[in-house]
């Protein structure tokens, strides 16, 4: 999938906004939102929040996790842990990009936050590259990837699945040709190699 499609999926997440106008509840197919009361926080899908922001009809309330201290902790935890830690949000990168892009002035210390999120992303991506390397070297046909977000998973496509497909193809070919070449040798050899 294209990154913009992941972004599209991420845009369905709910964010909190403070509208500067009042309006009755609005009934969308994806749910009902409102009523809008000027100055009072309320929840809307991210795409709607960004749209209203662009029309200068609201402020976006920074999500709980979009905070220097929280993010510093996540970063430290991510550095310490051998595994991927659980992110505060399944689409943290999309949310950060859209909110910081459209509403940077609503987020305190926006540029520092941007840097920390980028750091966290980099740490996780380098971890991901290391584990992909390990997976392939172990002749991987299976891997577990808890806590990776959709955007992160998407960033290793098509490389990882295709490398695994290729490895599988090579194994299939090896298996097809092996019996022929082993025909004149003894069976104990195949038995031996299995036990290793």
């Amino acid at each position: 999938m294209d990154p913009y499609e992941i972004e599209f999926i991420g845009e369905n997440r709910i964010v909190s906004i403070i509208p500067n106008f009042s309006h009755d509840k609005i009934f969308l197919i994806c749910g009902e939102f409102g009523p809008f009361r000027a100055g009072l926080p309320m929840n809307v899908p991210l795409w709607l929040g960004v749209m209203l922001k662009q029309k200068q009809k609201c402020r976006i309330v920074p999500p709980d996790w979009m905070d220097i201290e929280v993010l510093e902790n996540i970063k430290e935890e991510e550095k310490r842990s051998r595994f991927f830690t659980k992110m505060p949000n399944e689409h943290y990168m999309v949310e950060a990009k859209l909110i910081l892009g459209a509403a940077a002035e609503d987020i305190p210390r926006a540029s520092e936050i941007k840097t920390i999120i980028k750091d966290i992303w980099d740490i996780r991506m380098s971890k991901l590259r290391t584990s992909m390397d390990a997976l392939m070297k172990s002749g991987g046909n299976y891997g577990r990837l808890d806590h990776l977000t959709m955007m992160e998973i998407n960033s290793v496509k098509p490389l990882l699945p295709e490398a695994m497909d290729e490895l599988h193809r090579i194994k299939m070919m090896a298996r097809k040709t092996m019996p022929a070449s082993l025909n004149n040798s003894t069976f104990s050899q195949t038995g031996g190699s299995q036990n290793i």
């Binding site: 599209f8 309006h23 009755d24 009902e32 749209m51 699945p161 599988h168 090896a174």
Partner: protein
């Protein structure tokens, strides 16, 4: 109240519209990521198209400058994107794996478990006929008679079910058998609810179709 028209008629229908949308979105995501064609979701598509039409009629009644109109339009455009992309993805697969899909579908039609909608099936058949006559008129008819034999079976392209996919388990599934090619030690794994994995599509194909896992 003038926004009554936009409102869905009652509570129950509203929940359904939301669920239909969610189902469509998951179906779209799965269709994009699965190597083979999946069972169609025509009921959901039809239902959502009806909903969209209904909404559009109501939006047209609103004044152009109304904020609600632009919000509803934006949502409808998002949903239309999902539906279009979903249907296009299916057509791409039908064109690519035309012969193998038609062969499988003939068997599935007998057991009443068809994957294609009626119109997709018709499209596939016509596509194959057109391809055949195109190949005949442009190439085969120009070569000597003894070389004109045409064997469709040699043109079959199969989707690679062995390709690897990412998935997230919607519920716990135990005992997925992973074939071990180099040894004979087949591995068995469990998918816990909410966990994510990368593995071959084949052993989990049925789980995608019955919604126990979601491709990501």
């Amino acid at each position: 109240m003038d926004h009554d028209g936009i409102e869905l008629s009652d509570e129950e229908e509203e929940i359904t519209a939301q669920t239909v949308l969610k189902t469509l979105q998951n179906a779209w995501q799965n269709e994009r990521l699965a190597p083979e064609i999946l069972p169609h979701q025509n009921d959901m598509v039809e239902c959502m198209l009806g909903q969209i039409q209904h909404m559009e009629r109501n939006i047209n009644k609103l004044p152009k400058t109304d904020l609600r109109a632009s919000i509803h339009k934006m949502e409808l455009n998002r949903i239309k994107f999902i539906i279009c992309n979903y249907l296009k993805t299916r057509l791409d697969k039908i064109e690519k794996y035309c012969i193998s899909i038609l062969n499988d579908e003939k068997q599935r039609l007998e057991s009443g478990t068809n994957y294609l909608t009626h119109s997709e099936y018709k499209y596939a058949q016509e596509y194959l006929l057109n391809m055949e006559s195109h190949l005949k008129t442009t190439a085969l008819n120009q070569v000597p008679g003894n070389m004109q034999t045409f064997d469709l079976n040699k043109l079959v392209i199969y989707p690679n079910l062995q390709s690897h996919v990412f998935l997230k388990a919607n519920e716990t599934v135990t005992g997925i058998v992973l074939e071990d090619l180099t040894g004979d030690q087949d591995e068995e794994i469990d998918l816990e609810e909410g966990s994510q994995h990368i593995l071959q599509y084949k052993p989990i194909a049925d789980l995608v179709k019955n919604g126990k896992v979601q491709l990501v």
